[in-house]
Symmetry: D4
Subunit: 253 residues, 8 copies
């Protein structure tokens, strides 16, 4: 910030910018209504804002979607129940719906494809919803993803059979509920960055995903990182951050 | 009990026992001092009482040990810190000390060896204390045990290399801390009864063994059973119950 | 595995198998769609996969059931609400429904009956659902089970009156909610393997079954083992593992 | 209070008391230093203040004890470690020390014995400290107590053998750690008021006494009441409240 | 039990009872269907079984109620939602419904009124449901109860104004949610037995009643006892135990 | 910030400041070693940084103290055990030690006394340490404080007797452990800002202060605010914020 | 109280009041039905009772509202779901409904406006409900409030842009869910009293608001105070207490 | 694995390897004593095993260190208390000790330096131990690291002043205790991969680091990943995985 600030200050000092113009540049956002649009986010962190649909009504989501449409910005919203998606079908007739991932989206600009791929692994079939959310977000951000489903530790030979394929990915996302053991196996077998996602699959001592979360955080495999329970979106974003730096460094920045 | 009671009542009815004698037989224990000796336990559940040393002073343990010595009963006491064991060395000069398992014992009668063996597996070296407690208790009860240490999921190929050996045991005890993933792998690979023991190894989200405990209880491998954290004694006793019924049924009872 | 692997490798070395055939044998499963069928499980652990219905739609369960029907494999699915069972009645017209246990099944091959019986005990009437799930699973696996209901510690004389009967079983499953005291009584009175199942019966400090779970894990009776809350299925499977080893050893293996 | 207040106000109104005297009577305590002495407590609730020693230094306890001595009031202090008791031996040379109950006391006035007795039952020997604290407090308050130790559910026949004796008490205090099952058995067998005291005996899932606490609170036996973990003092006081009302009502109040 | 047992055994010994009759007397219950009726309970603990309605269907409750009707025993069932009560109105046309206490009952025998009264105090209006459950149970057991509602600590002068009335009761039940402070005030002001009932009133840090529960258990007022959250039934039963012993002792037993 | 920034930018624009000077003014802190000194804090939030001693060695604290001495700034450090204070006595010979509050300080500039006083109330004597920490901090910030100790709810008349005095304070800090009931009484009786401090006094269900914390947060008295457990410092600072705004507004700002 | 009491006592002593009149004055409330109206509250703590709607039926709320209308007292009720508000529309036709704040109110007397304003800041749009509840309560109590929404830490520059405005308020209420970081930033930047409100926004590790609650309580910014989760009402009341004392002191009291 | 396995199988099929040689190759580790050395780890996951010192005695660590020395492998051991490090100084005279990071190491082979750097940021000075552990591990793995200490949110301007520097790193590790807010700020401001490490700094509601852990997992900034509490080692390893893939991809693999 200091250097940026210094540059702006120098421009003021030289008379290139007046004080008011300098202020606007330093502020970097436009005052709007209740939901302030963070126009600077892509610039700062490398990806656009993703709308989080839980806790918003279909009407509110449709309204936000409209703002994006007007600005000709790609729109994606996650965390939508089947009921909400149905409520949105009439309100956003030009949107694409991905109910098995709880997502609605509208792509108005071609997505800028990046180099690098992500392997998305799930332990059981009940983890698929989270995996598909991750895959959708990755693709929205221009990152290729391949899904390996239902290869958990109850029959570990199923996992081993995909070893070669998985070893070609740049980042591995491992999604598991119940005892959350698959990330440990993965981290002990592969050298890539491994992002573990606990899910709320299971009952009783599964503790709505906290047992898997704690198991992943205390894994005996070194260098695993973890995101919130059922947070396929967050895991995808963490992978995007890695892929972004990878693309940047490969291009010489 | 009804049939037993009925038999006793019939003996009374026939005049073979008087009422007072019948009462003593039905009661099945002798009134002693504060610590009542459950003389009937072996008869009821197939194994003698094991003294639990935590929360008892060396002097108290030595006193109890003396009672066993006088009765010519085999004595074993678990849960002893190194400090307590050292305090006991002078008080129980004819005892055997197993500090790496927190145990002191005195074998005065030959142990009645049973058919059947138990595989005791640990994920890491920090689980060895619990494994050795289990092994000592098994042997005290006449059950052979073999220890497989440090073969956890961070390098799963080490575990796989012992597959044949383990498959020959009658019962498998799996001991693991941190994320407690090894029992899931074991249960998914072997048909025998699997008794999982969570340990307090790890820190932070290991939750002093609760993460491993919950992970084992919510395992995706079917038919695992679990005992208390660090409870090598309990796992051994559960294995003894299985080996006992196995011996009984094989002998035609 | 090493020995098995060695045998396969020798077959390759001798030219009996080519490399591709060897790979398939070592892999031990067929690549299918999202839900991979673990065709090797019975071989490995002694029992077929049981389908877990919670988190699956009636349509999904019906589809899976159809695959089993086509393969002429016995099918059983647990964890079904009354609503789901009703939804399945039209989709699986040749299935048997056991709503009081939350189960649907289709038996196409005669069940291979095993020697040995299991006593299933419940503390209260609200634990019956879990007990019936256990009984159904046991019978599906060819193990005879007898149910003793509502004999909890508030009137302990009811429990004592069944003592003789229970003492003839090979394994005891004890199911209790609230304070979960019955397994302690059972473990202190019987020599057999005792598998304790906590249930979510009760309110407030019953903590949805966690109080019973913790009470059972910290029981003063030695050698109890415990499964997840409301997990009648898991307790049955643990009993099957014991009965299996008992049958195997009696037959001289 | 209204009637009392009204009486005082009438005395003022009649000129029998002046305003200042009335204020003192209504206030009912004397302003002292940091630790205000609640001179009115016995009058209000039927028993003197018991000093709680945890968190006080030997010097502080000795100072408080001296105030009681000067006032010729019976003194008792609970919650004292062996170390603190040793520190107090020189400071309170005329006190009686009960280290096995963590108590120091000085009886300067004959204790007013009440009608009625309390049975104090413990499940294990590690619960004895709490039981002896309860017994000391009961006797300090003039209530007779009888201790039944080590008769827990692992060998329930030991408990049954004392049934007649226990049934003659007016109040039953049941003290148990680990799974805390004994109060349920007691409450299901006896008609008297049952006060359950969980103890911190046990490890892991015993949760420092919380498992026993929750088990007692969710007991299937009706009408049990519970006090804090290891709170022998509180259980005794609750029993004293019952014995007091019993004496009062028998004497016609 | 020993003396009783001895008596029965002597009767057998003398030929007054045969062995089978003795067994039935000792057993003290009749083998029925799933829900075993504890015919011995009133004899043992001084009150009949109260049916707990949560987790039972209206049909099941109606069936149980019918058994009581046939046996001419007073019937009361607690824990009923408004919906269940409405479902029962057609099935139990001769029952009395108390929806504000979640209770249905049928009194066929005159209730045996006991000496002694209970003061039932609530902190807020949202605690009234629990208070009315307690009051109904007390009256079902023949114990008079008086309700003091909405006199919590936010305006402590409301509580103080009832001091005289409350001081005439034999037992005090104090019911409070949120921070659960009222029992501390009560216990510090009155000498009688005080039974505290935490309720689930409040939100967030009220923790569904656990904050009030823990507050009551750790109260600075000596000799309070506590029951489960929202357990008006349990508090009433604990009061009945006290009133019973009071009646018994006054009558010279 | 915008206005401030705009002013600075205008100064640059006018040539009064060069770019580098402007940057330093905007930054508002000096780059130092590991522990950066927040020279701007008093300016921003109205009070100097207070050093937190827990987790620092006596040597580290002495070093920091020396920096303050050199800058001629008043120094205060909290959270010191008796052992640490003793370790500091030789290192900071010109400091004042307040062991009963865990504090060391050195006042080199006269404290700027503010209008307004704070009443600091404790429920028990074990809460005094926290109260004295609060009082020391208040006085360090120029705010007068008066301490009312040991006036908790077990004898509520002691509290009532100070009502007039307390009602003259501008802010009330109420400190209580165990069930934490005193803030509810206080908040229901006084109109001033009430800051509640839970303490870790108590055992078992006192949960190291969490029961008091939750009780205070869910109090039925409206408008209480709460700080961390044992955080006398935080409560004092919150009071200082109120007194500061009060002084500011009274002086016409 | 003593001085007040003394005055009343003197009036009695002088014959100005008789004993009954004195009692009524000291009592300070009128005996009503179940819900006692605390007529003295405004007098004691500076604000009227606010009705809490959660756990009350529309009919009950309408009845209470009617009592206020008859007494010509301003009425406000919080915590109302959309469903309840709709149920109330027909029952309270002269009320004003604020569904976005969960509030219904009826203002019959002009509100007494106070000097001083409160800044109400929210981190996200999902915190708006709580913010609007706070704003409504503040205005009901005559305190001006300004809302700054959606300026959380994910784009901290949005927050910084309002710095000047916020610095003019007398009290700052900061409302945030998820990780609850905004109060730390606020407390580190502004000198005023800061009242932090955690909200239940978020999922998984947000723990229904407990993560934000604990984060706010353990904030590194000094002098923050905290209220219960989602408790906009409580935060407003705490601000009113501050504004009240501020008005009182400015007016010379 | 399949491809690898297939290759090996083909070699056997061609006669290049015999069956025993093939087995050894497939196994990939040597059978040793209790602590099996995972000779294959670097090959599999890109980094050597790091010895974890907590729970090992100085003697054990020295013994392990000796094995590494004999094998001429670089050795590093973490988690060592000051006491243990002192105990090791005589046993490992040729080791380097880093007590401020709890580390002992011996570098016998030149470290293979990688391209890419990691910024390690701490919120407070009490987080330095964890930061230095991370820095040591990074450097042991050949990754350059730069430390920015004590720039937490209580004075956010200190953080902002390092913005340019931090933006040049490839990976950011953010270490914070208490409310753990700094990662949210960092993630909202920088595009790189951000690995958040909660620390146990703080008391009371800091919950030994769980509040920071949960806050980081539920952060409003997208794409953060988190490791266990105080786990500087794990964060470093996660960064190494990213740097490794970055080097690999840049070199064209």
């Amino acid at each position: 910030m200091n250097n940026d600030l210094l540059s702006v200050l120098k421009l003021v000092s030289e008379g290139t910018l007046n004080a008011e113009q300098a202020l606007e540049t330093i502020q970097g956002f436009t005052n709007g209504s209740d939901a302030k649009i963070d126009t600077d986010r892509k610039n700062r962190v490398g990806f656009e804002e993703v709308v989080y649909g839980r806790g918003k009504t279909p009407a509110q989501i449709a309204a936000i979607s409209k703002v994006y449409a007007e600005k000709q910005v790609n729109f994606i919203c996650t965390g939508l129940s089947e009921e909400k998606i149905n409520g949105l079908r009439d309100l956003c007739t030009d949107c694409t719906f991905v109910p098995e991932a709880g997502i609605v989206k509208r792509i108005v600009n071609p997505i800028d494809t990046k180099e690098g791929t992500v392997a998305v692994i799930t332990a059981g079939t009940s983890d698929l919803y989270v995996a598909k959310e991750a895959k959708e977000i990755l693709e929205f951000c221009g990152v290729g993803a391949k899904l390996y489903a239902d290869i958990g530790v109850a029959g570990i030979h199923r996992f081993l059979s995909h070893k070669d394929d998985i070893s070609r990915a740049d980042v591995i996302i491992v999604i598991a509920g119940m005892e959350g053991a698959l990330p440990s196996i993965t981290g002990g077998m592969f050298p890539q960055p491994v992002i573990a996602v606990p899910t709320s699959a299971g009952y009783g001592t599964a503790l709505n995903g906290f047992t898997a979360l704690f198991a992943m955080l205390t894994s005996c495999a070194a260098g695993l990182t973890v995101v919130n329970i059922d947070n396929g979106f967050g895991a995808a974003m963490a992978a995007v951050r890695i892929i972004n730096i990878l693309n940047l460094r490969k291009s010489g920045h």
